[in-house]
């Protein structure tokens, strides 16, 4: 598939002429509504440690993840071919995501699993090399790819396809798209937020919602981590019962057996918390995904602010240029201008100069009108597309989070069942005392 991929990339390079200004493919794939995931089975199967020299020639250890793909029709036919596979590191996933954000600024981009472990309760490792962390990251990366590959717009992206199918040279291809140049500067975006006059109200509401979502999920995650910490303490202290009962049983005759076996159950109880809390980390990961999604949502709203702001600026510029033309043409100065004053004081310019100026202004105005048209289209398109994706996101979020809550309840039920069993067993032992 890798080799075919290469040929495919040659073929689709022609398609690139048909790409729209925003880099997405103007092709029938979108209209067919069949996403990449329907045609291709994707998974992140493994993680491995590698060593190598980094950019400054220092030895470093990092983890790589194995991406496996298989054509869906083969799977459906039951042929079960061996999957194609390649290795990627976390930084490459980051690069892919950055590319997608810049190229599709109207899409709420699926987030990556956290770079560093956050909301850690004390026994949980904050070490990036810890095997549990790596495992959860593997799951998170797979989740990211599945989300992207099932997205109606993102799944059609060529760079995504290359990412999944061609190990070498992918980075160069990404850089060649020049996406980095298109990225909005932080400063520009921030200034737009403050100075935009007429942003779409719905987007402002969405932005406010994204702030709420971020604040609430992080509060929840923090509180949950503290609860987990305390619960860990409760369970582990019961291990002391195990030790003491065992020692005590040695000096007892009738009570000995009962105490001894009760002690074993106490040990089991103390040990059970490790698995219980490891399970709960998956729940925390689901919440963390939406914590990150909140940021992605905010980014789309900010992009709207920026586009709207640029439109307002362009319109304002056009208006002022038209005014200048009018003044120049009629000689009537409507607004105070330094030029106007100097003209009054020192006399007007020669007609040739005025002609030249008028001509220049006309050109600028024509350009300005083009700019305003472009910006208007940009803004409207962004609003239209973003609104669609934000609705899609909202439905996905409600569904996913409801499922996460249900999962949490299932975990709690499992924990209660274990507790019932252990303490019933302990009671039986005590009865034998």
């Amino acid at each position: 598939m890798a080799e075919d991929g290469k040929d495919d990339s040659v073929a689709t390079d022609d398609d690139s002429d048909q790409t729209a200004a925003d880099g997405s493919l103007n092709n029938t794939m979108v209209e067919e509504g069949s996403t990449l995931l329907r045609r291709m089975e994707i998974c992140v199967a493994e993680a491995e440690k590698r060593s190598g020299k980094n950019a400054v020639s220092m030895q470093e250890t990092f983890t790589v993840y194995l991406i496996e793909t298989r054509p869906m029709d083969a799977v459906a036919d039951g042929r079960n071919p061996a999957p194609d596979s390649l290795w990627r590191r976390y930084s490459e996933f980051e690069l892919l995501r950055n590319y997608l954000i810049v190229t599709y600024p109207y899409i709420v981009a699926p987030p990556l699993p956290e770079k560093r472990a956050e909301f850690v309760w004390h026994k949980l490792s904050a070490d990036n090399m810890d095997p549990d962390f790596v495992e959860r990251r593997r799951v998170g990366l797979e989740n990211f790819l599945l989300r992207v590959a099932s997205h109606p717009v993102l799944s059609n992206d060529k760079i995504l396809y290359h990412f999944l199918t061609e190990e070498n040279g992918w980075k160069e291809v990404v850089y060649e798209t020049g996406f980095q140049a298109k990225a909005d500067s932080r400063l520009r975006a921030l200034s737009a937020t403050f100075r935009v006059r007429n942003p779409d109200k719905r987007f402002m509401e969405m932005k406010h919602y994204s702030d709420e979502l971020q604040s609430h999920t992080s509060q929840l995650l923090r509180a949950r981590a503290r609860v987990a910490d305390r619960l860990y303490g409760v369970y582990k202290v019961h291990g002391n019962y195990g030790r003491v009962f065992s020692e005590w049983s040695a000096i007892e005759k009738e009570m000995g057996d009962g105490l001894q076996s009760a002690g074993h159950h106490m040990d089991a109880y103390a040990a059970s918390i490790d698995d219980i809390l490891e399970e709960e980390e998956h729940y925390a990961d689901q919440l963390k995904e939406y914590l990150s999604y909140a940021e992605a949502l905010r980014a789309v709203c900010r992009k709207h602010e920026l586009a709207q702001f640029e439109l307002e600026m362009a319109s304002q510029d056009l208006i002022s240029k038209k005014q200048q033309r009018e003044e120049l043409a009629t000689g009537i100065v409507r607004t105070f201008s330094f030029k106007g004053m100097t003209n009054k004081l020192f006399g007007q310019e020669a007609p040739e100069q005025r002609e030249a100026k008028l001509k220049l202004l006309e050109e600028l105005i024509t350009e300005g009108e083009e700019t305003v048209k472009e910006k208007t289209v940009e803004c409207e398109e962004h609003v239209e597309r973003a609104w669609v994706d934000m609705q899609r996101f909202k439905e996905q979020k409600d569904k996913d989070l409801r499922e996460a809550l249900i999962n949490y309840a299932v975990m709690q039920i499992s924990m209660c069942k274990k507790g019932i069993q252990v303490w019933s067993n302990a009671k039986e032992c005590f009865l034998k005392m």
């Binding site: 009962g258 709690q412 039920i413 019932i420 302990a426």
Partner: protein
Amino acid sequence: MSGQTVPADFSGHMLDLDEDEDLDVFTKNTSLADGSPMPNSPSSMVNQYRLEEDEEDQQGAFTKDVFVSVDNPESHVTAIETFIMYRVVTKTTRSEFDSSEYDVRRRYQDFLWLRSRLEENHPTLIVHPLPEKFVMKGMVERFNDDFIETRRKALHRFLNKISEHPILSYSQHFKVFLTAQDLASQRKQGPGFLSRMGETVRAVANSVRGLRSRPEEFSTMHDYMENFSNKISSVDKVAQRIIKEQREYLDELKQYSPTYSQWAESEQDLAEPLKAVASCVERCSKETEEQVEHLSEVLVPTLHEYVLCAETVKAVMRRRDNIQAEFEAKNEALMSRKVDQEALQEEVDALGDRVELANNALRGDWSRWQGSLRTDLRSAFISAAEKNVEYYEKCLAVWESFLMSQREESSEQKGEDAS
């Protein structure tokens, strides 16, 4: 308790502060000093003890016919001090009692007095311990409600243990404690503090030479008690630590559930399940609170009592050792000197009987105490385990009802989609 000058109170106080309480509580007199009807000759007394021992072997041979309860703690204020008075109600069918019901008020000092009298008269019986005078760690105020309630329960248990004891329940002091309206005047009777002091000195002098050889059964007992004392203390500490951890867990749970309900406020479709989860967490934290309370009201007091019991038993064993030591000392003196042999012989014989009495008393009470220990601890552990099962069952029900509600929701939605 400063300002009290009545000797009886003072002596009770002294008993507390003494490290080796055991040394000053045995009398030379083999007859029971409280004047209860007992035969005079040592041999018949020995028989008496033996008889009761056989009775104990048959379960239920001793039927409880004195029922005591301790309740209604009330603050009592005088010019000098403030203290708590407890109501002690007795119901009995015993002929030795003039009436079948009594209602008196007693303070903690009165319980101390009773116990010290019982120990004094029965040096090698195991007298159930009283709750501690103070709780040093945590600086619990004497008049804190929880402290008073804990103490009340322990005092109740103390009197019940006495009333269930085949020998102690017949003590004259016990009867006086349960029946006298004015205990203070009664407390002034009996051997004074100074005479007991004299005995202490004599006892120390006699036991300085140490024990020749402890009979094997008591050595076994001694070793067991050393180990048991360690273990029960450890279990007590573990239980208290668990309560501490549970309380901290509970505190965090209380912060946790609002994060769900606060989030629900900014959501639409998601608000309902979020609020439901918040409610689940809240209900579970209520159950946790109940579970912790059960631990501190049932398991810990029992464990703690047996920690104190262990110390009591060790003291009883030391007293038995001292009685034997005193006999051996006098006996040796008898063997070596030819002077005053007749007089000394009588003394030695009396001491010898005393040793036998003491051993029989301890032997009998030991098996009784062991049975009691097993019953009490077993029942406390079973109760704790049952409570935990109940706790998890309730939490399980809470989360299962949440799942049910979500499944109903989704099937409703599916119905809507279909139509």
